[in-house]
Symmetry: D2
Subunit: 202 residues, 4 copies
């Protein structure tokens, strides 16, 4: 079994000193990926001075180039984001904008540096928004070169207008846990296929 | 107090013979509007042979012209829709496409036939999607001439991946009921202002 | 080279008697797929009495079961839709709702009937909306079991508020043509990989 | 005629030293608002150290409280954003998240500090995305207390996959200019109505 690596980009608005539901869900995803021979790492994006922009390196102390190296080294990239106002977080949008630079980073045969990598999505909020966040992130990941297996998404939200955080639940809801397991099985299967058979020249 | 009228377009995929959570929520909205001197009516769109299209009348037995007359007679139009796959129903999209024709229906001063009317939105699903449905419907209503007050939306959804229907809840959740009351207060306030002061020529 | 088949579901609001830009783009996609050993067919959905609903068969003359057989026989499914109000057409939403039934159609190991199939998206409008339509369709296809390669989308839209139809352009814009070629190369590559290596049990 | 004030929050990813198409469109909106007796100001948000968060003041040098004072002093707030990947910019999302705090900032009768203010939207990109950006921003503005008149949006985008910037066009396209004029007429009309007749208690 080919060994794989995964990177989770945790897009909480807060730094690591504050507990984060999206980080918790990201770590649950990494745990399930480990069951499939995939070693993972998580980055709390807000810990690092990532610049606003759409290039690979915005200069002036921009932390993105270091994160980008880890993205390019991973077989599976997990975008983990909280929901605010039914939408992905601004930190998540900042990450997607930086990934947009990969459209210009192609090999001599026109393939992006991200071709062959598999995307996954983890979304969490007090209430409502997981499907729309998935839609925005899935569209962006497809645009910038990632492949998406079926059910590459795990999520949890509470009932309408409720305020409970995922990390404060007494236990992980079985539906979310099962969805996380499916995500791990499908993304690792697809990543191994693509490791052995790269996309054709453009 | 100026008397007002409201029309709720209920966009369930099913005809009236099947109970509908979106119809229930629409009727709760109409009840609250009645408290503010606004008489209302609901149409279950799927009961009628509305044609796909983007004109005011697609011919061949198209039921839209009759519904459109009621839209044009109302001060407040409520779009009530279920959520499927985190998105508005196809019936809701069909209704919005028919309303798109109003962009071409302007008076001699360039104002659409819908100018002065107030929009409201009621969304219901087993889980997840109310904010995104609101976004799509709000954008469309603004495009086709409606004015939207703050909090012109009421909704209910359950916890992630749960299957309970709104109409099967033991009682209406207080948060949704309160939101419905705010919707009614704000839409009637705004509709009265606009009745007395139409938008200027384009 | 494994021979493949593709099905394009053309979601114009109009029947075949009216020319359709989304059908034109769908046929261009099928032509490019043919270059990669993939035989294709297109269905103009509005020609058939597809019922509103979320089951595999709504009864009463519902045309979906026949279309569904073709979906289940295809390796690649292309959703081709016009843009109305910046959003997918109501016919497209109706199709996605019917595909939603596949979530319940699993084998004894929990895999949907659609697992192993590859999705593709073709979007066309006078102006504005292709990315958002892509987002909604990509999310829905991922939800119901399809795999999406990078750049599985081709599209054309004109400048803001312009009214030219894709089918009335003097020639196919090179950017759209190139994007269609990439779509064909990537979807056929991925479909062949998945034909030989199905997803693991859930 | 009641004198009004407007504030444009320009959500370019770049600081003022870099020319911005969204700032250009925002200033065109302010010029048209001035024709209706509304004095305006624009803030390039990226010039200021606004913190990620969902409170009115995140501390530690957060620039939002100063911007927020100007928001609370304005009758009309214009969200001006570029499009990246068919979506609002991360800076725009950061602004909307900060405005989300107003849901908790209510008077003794339950009305948000933003009630009575009118929202407007200006969107610009090389290609595709204006309707979806409008949808996300309109939903967020409605959620946090703003009222939206019809056609409260002006935008420009180029043909699919083209790279021209709005600020590099030889002249302002007449369709965009006309839309900007309508935006100004409708937002000022509505702002004057609401200045004289506040929303009822919740």
């Amino acid at each position: 079994m080919t060994s794989l690596t995964a990177l989770a980009l945790v897009c909480s608005l807060k730094k690591s000193e504050t507990p984060s539901s999206s980080e918790l869900l990201a770590r649950q995803v990494l745990d399930e990926l480990a069951e499939h021979g995939c070693a993972g790492d998580a980055i709390r994006v807000a810990d690092h001075p990532v610049a606003f922009g759409v290039s690979t390196d915005e200069g002036h102390g921009d932390a993105w180039p270091t994160i980008r190296e880890k993205v390019l080294a991973a077989d599976i990239v997990v975008i983990a984001t909280p929901i605010w106002m039914g939408q992905p977080s601004s930190v998540c949008k900042m990450v997607l904008e930086r990934l947009d630079a990969e459209i210009g980073e192609t090999d001599e045969q026109g393939r992006m540096s991200t071709y062959g990598k598999v995307g996954a999505i983890a979304v969490v909020g007090n209430e409502d928004g997981a499907h729309h966040v998935t839609a925005q992130v899935a569209q962006a990941l497809t645009d910038v070169g990632f492949t998406l297996p079926p059910n590459a998404v795990t999520y949890w939200v509470g009932e309408a207008m409720h305020g409970t955080d995922y990390r404060d639940l007494a236990e992980t809801p079985e539906k979310t846990a099962g969805t996380t397991r499916t995500l791990a099985a499908n993304t690792t299967h697809l990543a191994r296929l693509l490791r052995d058979a790269e996309y054709p020249p453009a």
